[in-house]
Symmetry: C2
Subunit: 332 residues, 2 copies
């Protein structure tokens, strides 16, 4: 590895390697090494994400909505109520002020919907040709709301736990990708970008052991991180239960994409003790964002660095590997 | 204003206009409207800054040291001990991994020197030509350490308070600017980039009313923000007392720069009650970063939106206006 490549930002295996083999050589704080979506500081969670999505506007959202929801969701899946956000804008000279206004509008709308306060910010401008319109960083602080100081974590998952996904997969990845219009495909796919806290808040009283939003690298990445991050576990998934909309499946079939590696920005994977799984599923389904929630699999006995097995619709079994390569770059 | 221009990122009047007339139209949280270097949340301060400095390496530092010191300093001037930092990297494909390693090295060194923990991060990669090597966002959380919950603020400054600057001005701006090598000027100017908390910590027991680090827009910008943000005050500065190194003055004279608008990344402007000013000055001078600290002026009676008057070396008076235009772009 002599040069950074696009694949290092794809969220799959190369991203993990860059972070765990290279960044962690220099940055060795125990919190940063956990590879969670944020750091736990007392009863707070602190998280950061930069957004470089291309194009800036896409069906269902824009970079502003994404910047608010994405960081708020990182807090939410750590069990924290999003409270405070910062915004850092890097703007290319020549950027249209009207477009900036539209983006600020959706930032405001998304923040109000979640009830998060945008309390501090920064603006930098670089010369024309030195950025791609607009990049936004948002960092966030949330307060952990799980009762009794219950901490979520991969190390808390155990054999028999059930795995739930909150809704159809791949809408965000496909919507952004089609908005680039490189293939001039018509489709009704709309990004799923949405704030997860209102849904997650309704689950606080259940024996949930782990949550994660399947963004870059999709469900395949999250399941593989779970299998290798958990203690002597493996994962079994039932392909028939994985929710994918007909529109997303059509585009995937045409272009050879795998819905399991597509990015989502308003979906959550929930791991919960078997006995409570049905109740969690029903609770999620009563929420607009969880109406199509499905039980997709379970934690099984495994070994360190366990694997993810998919029971296919044909009844055969295949191993889901961590996604590799560029995938769809700049999806968030 | 139809397009964003470089001047909107310069830290001077256009930046203030973009923020206060445009951003604040959409983002109206009381904390963000204060135009402080960070938001006060209970006994914490939360701050963010993106770094787009060009070139990435310059005499005295690099973008990594800048990203750690800059955000930590924003916390420090709010009276908060820097505790936790996040880092968000936006990397252009093709970036040299060895350079990234050097930058991570100085990030680690700066964080250790301050005692701040880097607890969370994010990495995005964009295509070649869509960024300029590397941009870094750092956001930080600090804990307010002034005794008795004393809050610093422009509204706390009053007539008679003295103004101290901690060291010679303009080194950072000149060092970065010369490192671009556009004028092939030889100079020994080294950036002042440094963490201010160790110096500021020694001042906690004094009746300080306001602090600010004069970064983009330099001392001229900070003094004008003070004059317009304070309550019915004006500011008088004695030009003879403003510390500027001979090397910086030489470059300024050759190129027509004004040291008062140059960026600093390791200097602080301190406003303190008159009775304690001499003690604060002596305390600062015992610290390596404050050895050349100087009393440069005072808060005088004024009017809302007061002005900054400079008593020149010739005995005449001139008004220091907020800096305007592009100044030196991408200095941080």
């Amino acid at each position: 590895m002599a040069k950074i490549e696009l694949a290092h930002g794809g969220g799959g295996r190369q991203t993990q390697e860059l972070i765990s083999r290279f960044f962690h050589h220099y940055l060795d704080d125990p919190e940063i090494r956990k590879l969670d979506d944020g750091a736990v500081i007392g009863d707070q969670v602190f998280s950061t994400d930069s957004y470089v999505v291309k194009p800036l506007f896409f069906p269902g959202g824009d970079i502003g909505k994404l910047a608010v929801c994405g960081t708020a969701n990182d807090l939410a899946v750590m069990g924290a109520e999003p409270q405070f956000l910062s915004l850092g804008f890097i703007i290319e000279a020549g950027f249209d002020v009207a477009d900036l206004g539209r983006i600020l509008c959706s930032i405001r709308a998304a923040a109000r919907r979640i009830g998060v306060r945008i309390v501090t910010g920064d603006t930098k401008v670089v010369e024309k040709g030195k950025a791609d319109g607009l990049f936004i960083n948002s960092s966030g602080i949330g307060r952990i709301r799980f009762p009794g100081g219950n901490r979520l974590g991969m190390d808390r998952m155990s054999e028999g736990d059930r795995i739930i996904v909150s809704g159809p997969l791949g809408c965000h990845g496909i919507a952004v990708w089609l908005a680039r219009n490189e293939f001039r495909l018509q489709s009704r796919v709309v990004s799923d970008v949405a704030p997860l806290w209102p849904l997650i808040r309704s689950l606080l009283d259940f024996p949930i052991t782990f949550m994660r939003d399947p963004t870059r690298g999709g469900l395949a990445q999250v399941l593989n991180e779970m299998a290798s991050g958990g203690r002597h576990i493996g994962i079994e998934i039932d392909e028939r239960q994985i929710p994918v909309s007909a529109a997303v499946r059509t585009v995937c079939d045409m272009l050879g994409f795998d819905p399991l590696v597509l990015a989502n920005e308003g979906r959550v994977v929930v791991v919960v003790a078997d006995a409570a799984a049905e109740a969690v599923l029903q609770t999620m389904r009563r929420h607009p964002l969880g109406r199509q929630a499905r039980l997709i699999g379970r934690i099984v006995r495994g070994h360190p660095g366990g694997r993810v097995a998919l029971r296919t619709t044909l009844g055969t079994e295949r191993i889901i590997m961590p996604p590799v390569g560029e995938l769809l770059p700049r999806i968030c």
